[in-house]
Symmetry: C2
Subunit: 482 residues, 2 copies
């Protein structure tokens, strides 16, 4: 352990920086499975921090599943280290365009994983209420409906609640965008943003290029709009293969490209600035709109949020879609689109689908953004999601059959799990349901017949013995497939 003193920052408290230092040694292989980590006293002297700080740091590593305490002996590196684990493999580009077929199985799964039930659900990618600022939000909701009773009960304008659009525009500076309030149109969540943006720039039968795997809700929108999907090879670290995307754009008539560049669902990667810049140049030259799903953009596991593709967009071909469903309150159904040059058409489609967005929920979220609590809240959320991501990944590696690969997301709150080939996640889904456990099976993330041995796990739920047992049960059930 190099004897370099470290200090905390508002972004990272001191014990977290200590923990990350030790985690780095484990990840790099300097400390290996079964090794004893430096004693509390020794590390406290080396790093010039208090004993209690080191204890807190080790507790955190224990929470993440990286070390385990042995009575009377200290902390040891756990056997299943993420470093040793393999990540899911890069996917391949699909040869032909496909109409996403949402079959009865997918329909049933989506219905079941969104139900309220008494079992353990790793299903929909939803933050648990314990992570949401519900008390504050409720206070603000009560206040806005009292102070502006008529406004809150009346139809909002087509574009959306003005104060909220102003605050969204202001916050988008963090994503490298310089927006006016009028560039923003609010929507009933990001799902509606995707639907209206895609609808504004396509017609039935058109072809849309997407990552593979990708968010099943996007495939459902494509299906609902009678669009064809072209799946492009995607790497769980780097994102979509731009070479193959460019080939596809040159070979076929593609009406739109729809990607999740920031903490991709389900892969977890984040596109680099260089790739974003190159991507935006590529679509702008060809005048093809890029739908950028940015719902996880505010949720890096470390450091600042990435720049959006929208930040590189000079000609208005990028249509950014996002929401507060992963950060403030999914139940409020408040999202937005920044549709660039397609603004008029998007506003029109929004009117057609639902006239306007609910007013009181927009007002409450605007107050939450204005009130200044958002940044603190989001910092806490990022740390929580980071820790949970480790914790779930370690547990899965421990519990699942040998050969299982787990994604290493750099943000967001889902894990993409590639199991050995003989394991059928659709069969596993029903077996797990019988044990009161749910997840989303891999095939739902593709318009073709892929990812049968994959599954997605939502990690935005406090870790507990119940969660651990459920993951162990899943692993056991999977082991029986052959």
């Amino acid at each position: 352990m190099p004897a370099v003193p470290i200090a905390g920052t508002p972004e990272q408290p001191l014990y977290r920086r200590v923990a990350d230092r030790v985690a780095g040694l484990i990840d790099a292989g300097t400390l290996r499975a079964g090794d004893r980590v430096p004693s509390v006293r020794r590390l406290s002297r080396q790093l010039e921090v208090s004993v209690s700080t080191v204890v807190e740091a080790y507790r955190l590593l224990e929470d993440r599943g990286m070390v385990e305490a042995r009575p009377q002996s200290g902390f040891y590196v756990r056997p299943a280290a993420l470093r040793d684990a393999l990540e899911p493999r890069r996917s391949s580009t699909q040869a032909t365009a496909t109409v996403p077929e949402i079959d009865d199985f997918a329909t049933r799964v989506m219905k079941e994983v969104t139900e309220h039930w008494e079992g353990v659900s790793f299903g929909s990618a939803t933050p648990n209420a314990t992570f949401l600022p519900v008390t504050k939000l409720n206070r603000l909701m009560s206040r806005v409906v009292r102070l502006r009773p008529d406004t809150s009960a009346s139809y909002d304008t087509l574009a959306g609640y003005a104060k909220l659009r102003t605050l969204i525009a202001r916050r988008s500076l963090d994503a490298g965008c310089a927006l006016e309030p009028d560039d923003v149109i609010t929507t009933a969540g990001a799902q509606q943003a995707l639907a209206v943006c895609l609808r504004a720039v396509t017609k039935p039968g058109d072809l849309v290029a997407i990552e593979t795997p990708t968010y099943h809700g996007l495939l459902e929108v494509l299906q609902a709009l009678h669009l064809n999907a072209l799946e492009i090879a995607t790497d769980p670290r780097e994102g979509i293969c731009l070479v193959e995307l460019e080939k596809a754009l040159d070979k076929r008539k593609v009406a739109a490209v729809a990607l999740i560049p920031s903490y991709h669902n389900p892969l977890g990667h984040c596109m680099s600035d260089d790739d974003r810049s190159q991507l935006v140049k590529m679509i702008t030259e060809r005048k093809i709109p890029l739908i950028e799903d940015d719902v996880y953009g505010e949720l890096p596991h470390e450091g600042r949020r990435p720049r959006a593709c929208k930040a590189f967009d000079e000609e208005g071909y990028v249509m950014l879609c996002s929401s507060f469903s992963k950060t403030i309150a999914p139940g409020y159904r408040v999202g937005w689109a920044v549709p660039g040059r397609f603004r008029e058409a998007v506003e029109r489609q929004k009117f057609r689908l639902s006239i306007s967005v609910a007013t009181p929920t927009q007002m409450a979220i605007a107050e939450f953004l204005a009130d200044g609590g958002f940044d603190r809240h989001i910092r806490r959320l990022r740390r929580n999601y980071r820790d949970l991501s480790y914790r779930y990944a370690y547990t899965i590696l421990d519990a699942f059959p040998k050969g299982t690969r787990v994604s290493r997301p750099s943000g967001g709150h889902v894990l993409w799990v590639e199991m050995p080939e003989q394991i059928d996640s659709t069969r596993l889904y029903d077996e797990a349901s019988n044990e009161k456990i749910r997840f989303v099976p891999g095939p739902l993330f593709s318009a073709t017949d892929r990812y049968r041995n994959f599954l997605r796990i939502n990690t935005a739920k406090p870790f507990s013995d119940e969660i651990e047992r459920a993951l162990q049960t899943l692993g056991k059930l999977a082991s029986k497939h052959r």
Copy 2:
């Protein structure tokens, strides 16, 4: 005046029943324009009610624009009696199917009439906030988010908030329907209900039979879904011509029928039970879904609400769509669908368009329904809308060029105005905008080039000198067209 004593009911206070008795005499022509109505004392003796009741009754007739007080002399029947006025003519069936073209003009109008602005708007069919139970609703909203913080912030289920669905099912008894909570799916307003129901039973290019004129928002949904419209002759008293509808269904492949049988927008008629029964039989025999837009169903001007077509539906081919936007709070965006045999598909489409409906707004409306205030509120609303409908109609007949015809809605809160043929409501729209007055021009209510000399006036706004002046200005501007 027959000397029959009358009594009040919870539904109609005494003075209103007195007023309606006199209004009946005017409507029937027994009392004519310029006639003096019976003196207060005389009527009080004849009907065995107090003097103050008669005074209140005459004030109400004055508010409706039916009588006018002349100093020292009593009340007189006003010149422009609705009885003498003609109603808009029956429309005709369109020969060929049309893709509704929403042109730039229509786009601009819809944007402008939904803006918040400082002028007088007769534009969107929205209840003014003074008619909404905002104070009570806000109190309930504050309570639900406080009592159930986690639920209110979290995703609702696909089908919708269970308590609300139960209460909707219960209330639907008034419309003659016996529903289970699971028959109901909540939506982001009736507009989303229309969109998901139509989408569930059609594919691009399909043909949908509709009334003409019809709600422009329905035409927009058809256009968004790439559906063709077939406009069927509709009478402003009787509703759609069932003979012509049947001919069309036999001649063409019609994928769905989409009607507004209760207090049609913009015509105001209400289909009879016999017609509803015949209609449901007609579509059921042919296995063609009927989308029934019932948003005004709770707003009869007299008596009980009509039975819905859904009440006659034994095989599940009727898809009822409604909302609380005309009765409780448009800004809450809470509506519902009762999709009969197409339930699964509708739920699916709802997920695709916006995952779920906002939770806190559904909870607040459920509390409002449960709390027992809804019936009282709706009784008051019906009376207000009835009075306003008269008042606006009289004023329009006074102010508009000779030959103007005004609809006589039996419920709801819009008037359909047919002006002499030389008057161009699209030109009038721009002229009126310059005078800070807005309305929806007739052509927006058809998929073909019709109703150029028509306009729709929303009457759900307290009558005032400003409103009166605005209607007079509209009339003057119209008079200049030749």
